[in-house]
């Protein structure tokens, strides 16, 4: 596990004429090979700025970024592309291109002017296709793939570029739930098996916690917090991502939850059942107050209020409109 990319006391932003607009300051981070790292933070916090700096497109005002032995801005363009590859959220897709050709494009920095792949290049392409399980689609045209497959093909392309670092900017933002999981687990595998340092910018906290080896949390005005997802949950630092007055991260459920106000009810029963019933009550913004004891019972599921029994939450709501109102 080597540090491939490090940031020390970084201060980043944009220059317009004489004006310097600092967007991020005092950033410190380490990206390790063999690990999947997820960068989380609200919109506008400067995630893209950080990514731009890592890609060598902007020069830090202060501090330093080091990719292996030098700063990304100091690499010649072609050298940098052999160290670092990217996947963006919405790629421009040439529909006529096949998956194989797309992955072959990843070899661009290694090719001569004509763009003809050598045996070695082809080996890398095959390996990238195998690693992303896209083998069976290699002759398929990009226009005929699903969004998820297309994004996997883009990941294969980034992989065939054979850099130490892969940066993905919201790669799953327009994919469905299953594909989001699949892609993130795929990235986890690639990081582990191929010893790549993978940085994913994402908004998907659930999946990030599920898959990432490291989390980087960014929030306005506070320093970047890095750590194991589980550590961040246990020491409650993960709450830094959330507006504290309204939301909190429930470590038991591994989910973001609304802060509960005082409720006008009391429910007894096993914890899981109470959780879901309360959730349903809160969703209704239920105004009902009751002094009666509500009990949830298992096997089969039922709700007991006084001597009345309901067999589903829906039934309980229906009845309670009239009787409990």
């Amino acid at each position: 596990m080597d540090q491939v990319l490090t940031g020390k006391n970084l201060s980043l932003g944009y220059e317009k004429g004489q004006d310097r607009k600092v967007i991020l300051s005092d950033l410190n981070f380490q990206l390790y090979s063999g690990q999947l790292t997820c960068l989380l933070g609200p919109n506008g916090v400067g995630k893209s700025t950080l990514v731009k700096a890592i890609l060598g497109r902007i020069r830090p005002f202060e501090g330093e970024i080091k990719l292996l032995d030098k700063s990304p801005v100091d690499y010649p363009r072609e050298k940098l592309s052999k160290k670092l590859s990217v996947v963006l959220s919405e790629p421009i897709i040439p529909a006529q291109m096949t998956v194989e050709q797309l992955v072959g494009l990843g070899r661009t920095p290694y090719l001569k002017w004509s763009g003809t792949l050598s045996e070695l290049d082809r080996k890398y392409v095959n390996e990238a296709l195998a690693a992303t399980k896209m083998d069976f689609l290699r002759k398929e045209r990009l226009g005929e793939l699903s969004d998820g497959q297309r994004q996997k093909a883009m990941i294969a392309r980034a992989l065939s570029q054979d850099g130490e670092v892969i940066i993905l900017d919201e790669p799953t933002s327009h994919l469905d739930l299953v594909n989001r999981h699949e892609i993130m687990f795929l990235l986890q595998d690639i990081a582990k098996n191929q010893d790549k340092a993978i940085l994913v910018v994402t908004h998907d906290l659930d999946i990030a916690i599920e898959t990432a080896h490291q989390l980087w949390l960014m929030n306005c005005g506070s320093p970047l917090i890095a750590g194991l997802p589980e550590d961040l949950i246990l020491n409650a630092q993960i709450n830094e991502l959330l507006p504290k007055d309204r939301f909190f991260f429930d470590p038991k459920r591994g989910k973001v939850n609304l802060r509960s106000e005082d409720s006008g009810w009391e429910i007894q029963g096993s914890e899981d059942l109470v959780f879901w019933l309360e959730k349903a009550l809160r969703k209704r913004k239920s105004t009902f107050r009751t002094e009666e004891r509500i009990q949830v019972l298992e096997n089969p599921f039922r709700i007991q209020v006084g001597d009345r029994i309901y067999h589903s939450i829906a039934e309980f709501f229906e009845e309670s409109q009239t009787s409990l109102g």
Partner: protein, 350 residues
């Protein structure tokens, strides 16, 4: 039967098959183009004349060697040049409607020639003594300067629709200046310019054909060196940059190459519409590929063939007069572009 056999055996290498087919069609069209005209000359007479150097009639020799052969060559070269510039513009601007015409390069070329022919009398040289060399240089300068202006804007906007509008605006502005020049110029000069603007593949001597060939080679050479970059650019500038491509260098390469290719053709032959836009799309349809290693030669072959075909159609009426090439290409090219636009998902399949 033979056809079916060829198709089957080539299924593994369809690309090569289409290349051979296109090349055969090109040779065929070339010979037809040589044979047809106000006087039709049998193909075998032409072939024996060309290979042995002995002609039955000296008039045939005269027609073929000094008129039709250079004209057919010019058609081939113009087809290649316009298609290549159209293809690189479409990839570079990632816009399926880009081409030398839309972005004002051809109007730029026209502007250069107009200044030379129309404003010549103001500037102190008569329209009659201007050599074709001067026309070519004026055309290239005009084309490159308009393209440079457009790409200067492209530099700032980066949005292809805006760029398209800017290109059309430049074209309109340049046309307006040409109109003003035309209004004040003399009848002789005006006629020269009007004829030039209708486009013509013929009337060039071997010297000019040679120069055109040289310019074509100079303009197309950078494309050979940048095939890799064009392929990477298919994914957009950010991806291309992440793969080590220098977009600034590529931008200038496109500007210079398109300026020379489209500019010189416009200068020598006048504006020739639609070939630049339509042929790259045809090539994409035929080869079903986005790879520039296939699309560059493919577009060149199809472009040469299409222009030969258009030229042949233009002289079919049988009289000594030929239709202006610009009108014929528009008549053939417009339906192609319309059909493509009406096709579903056109912009995504680009």
């Amino acid at each position: 039967m033979i056809c079916i056999f060829i198709v089957n055996s080539m299924k593994t290498n369809q690309n090569a098959f289409f290349f051979i087919l296109a090349a055969v069609a090109l040779v065929f069209l070339f010979l037809i183009n040589l044979a047809l005209g106000s006087v039709s000359i049998p193909v075998d007479t032409i072939l024996s004349g060309l290979f042995t150097g002995e002609w039955e009639k000296s008039s045939h020799r005269e027609i073929i060697l000094n008129y039709r052969f250079p004209k057919s060559l010019v058609a081939v070269m113009a087809g290649i040049a316009l298609s290549l510039s159209g293809l690189q513009m479409q990839t570079f601007f990632r816009n399926p409607l880009a081409g030398p015409y839309v972005l004002g390069i051809s109007s730029g070329g026209g502007f250069g020639v107009a200044i030379l022919l129309l404003a010549g009398s103001f500037l102190g040289f008569s329209g009659m003594v201007i050599s074709s060399w001067a026309t070519a240089i004026a055309g290239i300068l005009g084309a490159v300067s308009v393209l440079a202006l457009v790409s200067l804007v492209a530099w700032r906007v980066r949005d292809s629709m805006t760029l398209l509008i800017v290109g059309i605006m430049f074209g309109a502005a340049v046309s307006a200046i040409i109109s003003v020049l035309a209004f004040f110029s003399e009848a002789e000069a005006l006629k020269l310019y009007t004829i030039w603007s209708m486009g013509s593949l013929g009337g060039l001597g071997w010297n000019q054909v040679g120069l055109l060939g040289l310019l074509l080679a100079i303009g197309a050479f950078p494309l050979l060196l940048a095939t890799r970059s064009f392929n990477a650019l298919l994914l957009g500038e950010t991806y291309a940059e992440s793969m080590g491509i220098n977009p600034v260098r590529l931008r200038w390469l496109v500007i210079i190459s398109t300026g020379i290719l489209a500019g010189s053709i416009t200068a020598f032959c006048g504006p020739i519409a639609f070939v630049g836009i339509a042929v790259p799309h045809l090539a994409r349809l035929v080869w079903k590929s986005a790879d520039h290693r296939i699309l560059f030669p493919g577009s060149a072959l199809l472009g040469a063939g299409l222009l030969l075909l258009c030229d042949t159609i233009g002289q079919l009426p049988g009289s000594a007069q030929t239709l202006p090439i610009n009108a014929v290409t528009s008549l053939v090219g417009a339906p192609v572009v319309i059909a493509l636009v009406l096709k579903r998902n056109f912009s995504k399949e680009f």
